[in-house]
């Protein structure tokens, strides 16, 4: 049966009570804010953990309360929270929820109830995750990759309870994400307003859409791995557990394959990198285009690159396993597929630069973060080319070089885009303007600070300093300069950590005291800036859905009255 936009026109039931409006809300904008605040809240926990780790590495013994077990637990929780519970949830649950219906001209997600359920199940997963801090033995210390057999074997912190809360929380998160992801994909496919063809969608929507499809196809691998490891741990099966001697005692398990877990984990884990990166790619394209007052260079190529990167990312997972041992031909295949991704990625980077080229660049805070992203992403991407090669990866694997690489490419880069995006859309979300000076200060400290943190890590890695070590001690191959570098990194990390206070002060203060924002302060052409109210009301568009007549990038069109033409403005 076919309906076009009929589903969008069914009467909206506006909630009457405060609880119905802000707690059990089915409005995509409220759910987006709920998702974002929860993700940022748990992200702050991970941020504090990283500062504790840095204190231990820079000034060993300065905080005697940090034991080696604690350190491993901090590493594991920091990694998992940042990748899954902060970045994935914020980019897809937060920005996906807020932007998709507004940018494609829909009243809401197509399944609002499922959308609401998605948030509450996500919150449950966060609560179960946090419960890990309070169970006997504390959270798991198996590393964010949770490799068996060590993750569930005696000697690893949190091997009895912590790992259970972690795996259970992941399984719950995946159920929440699947409900959200089905919504995002179906809304893009089904609820676009009249005239909004696929190739007229802003690149933010393309990035989020492709990442949602990837998440739907990749997260089941983690789900299967988590359930099977839970069974190994609680029910005594041997999916992943080989026959081993632990603490002098032979275990009852036999025949399981730890490598099988690694394959499942990375079949999820590598696409996950792009699940985080693609929405950031899309959003940064829109920020650059709006603030440079130029149409995005090579729009079609940008879309194709997003889709191709998404597809390729499913055939590169074993490059995380070069040192686990594999047939050399596999290593060759995965190295080639990994390096091939550089082509569509480079297309995107060149197109961003060519959009800036001779643009009317306004260095406002969102633009600063977008340009900062280009720097950090190129650096992180180039070190990725090193690590994609088997022979270079083997000596660098498990050193600080890897830590520097992935923090640059999938830690700092998406975070810079998230900051840029929050500054960019804050006037639409809250109806208020933030403080420009505080924003610029926040950008410069953060941007220069992350370089001070992560560039020296590459040097440490080339020296051979291993990652995940509680303390280096007196080791012959580690020169005193390495200790000095570690101290400098820690100082920089603390400064960057404190500088985030500027962001929170700015956002909270502006929410109540900021000047009223113009409905379209940046002069942007995409639909979300053309809503009748700011912030948009429930239902987004008033009585009539918008009609789209053009793409989202009509900036500085010759002979036009203004330097942008909104998507819903008819041709003359």
């Amino acid at each position: 049966m076919a309906t076009t936009l009929a589903d969008d026109l069914k009467p909206l039931h506006h909630p009457k009570t405060w609880v119905g409006k802000y707690v059990w809300s089915q409005d995509h904008k409220v759910i987006a804010v709920q998702y974002s605040l929860t993700a940022i809240g748990i992200g702050l926990v991970a941020l504090v953990l990283s500062v504790l780790m840095r204190l231990q590495l820079g000034f060993p013994g300065a905080l005697p309360s940090i034991t080696p077990e604690n350190y491993l637990q901090y590493v594991s929780m920091h990694g998992m929270i940042m990748v899954v519970y902060l970045l994935t949830a914020l980019l897809l649950g937060g920005f996906g929820n807020y932007l998709i219906p507004l940018m494609v001209g829909a009243r809401d997600m197509v399944f609002p109830f499922v959308n609401m359920l998605s948030y509450w199940v996500y919150l449950l997963s966060v609560i179960v995750l946090v419960a890990g801090f309070f169970v006997p033995g504390g959270p798991t210390g198996a590393g964010w990759t949770l490799y068996p057999p060590q993750a569930i074997t005696e000697g690893t912190p949190g091997h009895s309870w912590g790992i259970v809360t972690m795996l259970a929380s992941l399984a719950i998160f995946i159920i929440a994400f699947t409900m959200g992801g089905l919504n995002y994909v179906t809304t893009v496919l089904q609820a676009r307003c009249r005239g909004m063809t696929l190739m007229r969608m802003p690149l933010s929507v393309w990035g989020i859409f492709t990442a949602s499809i990837m998440g739907l196809l990749a997260f089941p691998a983690l789900f299967v791995a988590a359930v099977m490891m839970l069974l190994d741990h609680l029910a005594g099966t041997s999916f992943f557990m080989p026959s081993i001697v632990s603490m002098g005692q032979a275990t009852e398990t036999q025949g399981g394959s730890p490598l099988l877990f690694q394959h499942l984990f990375w079949f999820f884990g590598h696409p996950e990198v792009y699940i985080v990166a693609l929405p950031a790619f899309g959003i940064v394209s829109d920020l650059i285009s709006v603030h440079a007052r130029r149409n995005i260079f090579g729009y079609r190529m940008m879309v194709w690159a997003i889709v191709i990167i998404g597809a390729l990312s499913f055939v590169v997972w074993a490059h995380h396993m070069y040192v686990s041992g594999m047939n050399p031909y596999f290593g060759f295949f995965f190295a080639v597929s990994t390096l091939v991704i550089a082509i569509p990625t480079a297309i995107k980077v060149y197109n961003w630069l060519l959009t800036l080229w001779r643009g009317n660049i306004h260095l406002r805070v969102p633009m600063l973060f977008a340009i900062g992203f280009i720097f950090t992403f190129i650096h992180g991407g180039l070190t990725g080319l090193f690590l994609g090669n088997v022979s270079v990866d083997v000596p660098l694997s498990d050193t600080f070089f890897v830590v520097g690489h992935f923090h640059m490419v999938m830690g700092v880069s998406p975070i810079l885009v998230i900051f840029g995006a929050i500054y960019h859309w804050y006037p639409k979300i809250t109806g208020r303007m933030w403080n420009e000076t505080l924003g610029k200060l926040h950008f410069w400290i953060t941007f220069l600070g992350v370089y001070a943190i992560y560039l020296p890590m590459h040097y440490l890695g080339i020296l051979g300093i291993p990652r995940r070590y509680f303390a280096l001690g007196e080791t012959a191959f580690i020169p005193p300069s390495a200790h000095l570098a570690n101290e400098a990194i820690t100082v920089a990390a603390i400064i960057v950590f404190l500088a985030q206070g500027l962001f929170f002060i700015n956002m909270i203060w502006s929410l109540f005291r900021g000047p009223k924002a113009d409905p379209n302060p940046w002069g942007a052409a995409s639909l979300e800036w053309q809503t009748p109210q700011t912030p948009p009301a429930h239902g987004n568009w008033g009585p009539k859905l918008p009609t789209v007549y053009r793409w989202a990038y009509d900036y500085s069109v010759p002979h036009a009255a203004r330097d942008f033409i909104p998507q819903n403005e008819p041709p003359t």
Partner: protein, 214 residues
């Protein structure tokens, strides 16, 4: 318009909405799109477990590939109940097929009867699966006794949970047209339920084939 020509659209050259008029059949209903996208998720979920099944089957006791030598995999027997359950699921799917065809003509009494029979047979299948579990356990085929058993319990549990989801959806849909609400919508949802049932039958046939052939 094919997907390729859509992706090749020069959006910067085509202002206006001429030629973009959308016929009623342009976009399928949201529930239908959502369900088909979910089929993709479920396919990945089941194929990954099956992939793990095949890899684990070839493992020796030390967790490395055996290359032909004996591993610890001991196949499970195939009791008659396995075939009885499969037949029940086929019958359940057939009932849904009749309901799906009846939904075309909006013959509500037929639809309701066949949908309830279909869902009831689905529940019977689930009861049969539970009985099968008990039989295996009584025969010493515990979850932890052998990886073959563990995979069997895991696969049937995941499949069963999907079927429970189907029964819940069915109860909701039957309630929907009981209230004489949007008739077209209810008929569409009945058809989607039937497609979901067929999908689960297909998955079960493939899983049973895997269990029997290995």
């Amino acid at each position: 318009m094919s997907l390729l020509s859509r992706l090749a659209e020069k959006s910067w050259e085509t202002p206006g909405i001429d030629g973009l008029a959308e016929p009623d059949s342009y976009r399928p209903a949201a529930a239908q799109v959502g369900l088909y996208v979910y089929f993709g998720v479920a396919c990945v979920l089941f194929s990954l477990i099956v992939g793990a099944y095949l890899v684990r089957m070839g493992m020796g006791v030390h967790g490395a590939a055996t290359h032909g030598t004996a591993g610890d995999w001991r196949p499970m027997p195939e009791p008659p109940l396995l075939w009885i359950n499969s037949a029940v699921l086929v019958a359940s799917s057939l009932a849904w097929e009749v309901a799906r065809r009846a939904a075309r003509t909006l013959a509500w009494d037929d639809i309701r009867r066949m949908a309830l029979i279909g869902a009831g047979l689905g529940l019977l299948f689930l009861a049969g699966q539970l009985l099968l579990w008990r039989q295996y356990q009584a025969g010493g085929y515990y979850l932890s006794a052998n990886p073959a058993n563990a995979f069997f319990f895991l696969l049937t549990a995941v499949h069963g949970l999907h079927l429970i989801g189907g029964v819940v959806a069915c109860v909701r849909v039957v309630g929907q047209f009981g209230a004489r609400g949007d008739q077209r919508r209810a008929a569409r949802n009945i058809r989607l339920c039937a497609v979901y049932w067929h999908f689960l039958l297909l998955v079960w046939v493939l899983l049973a084939g895997l269990l029997v052939s290995t």
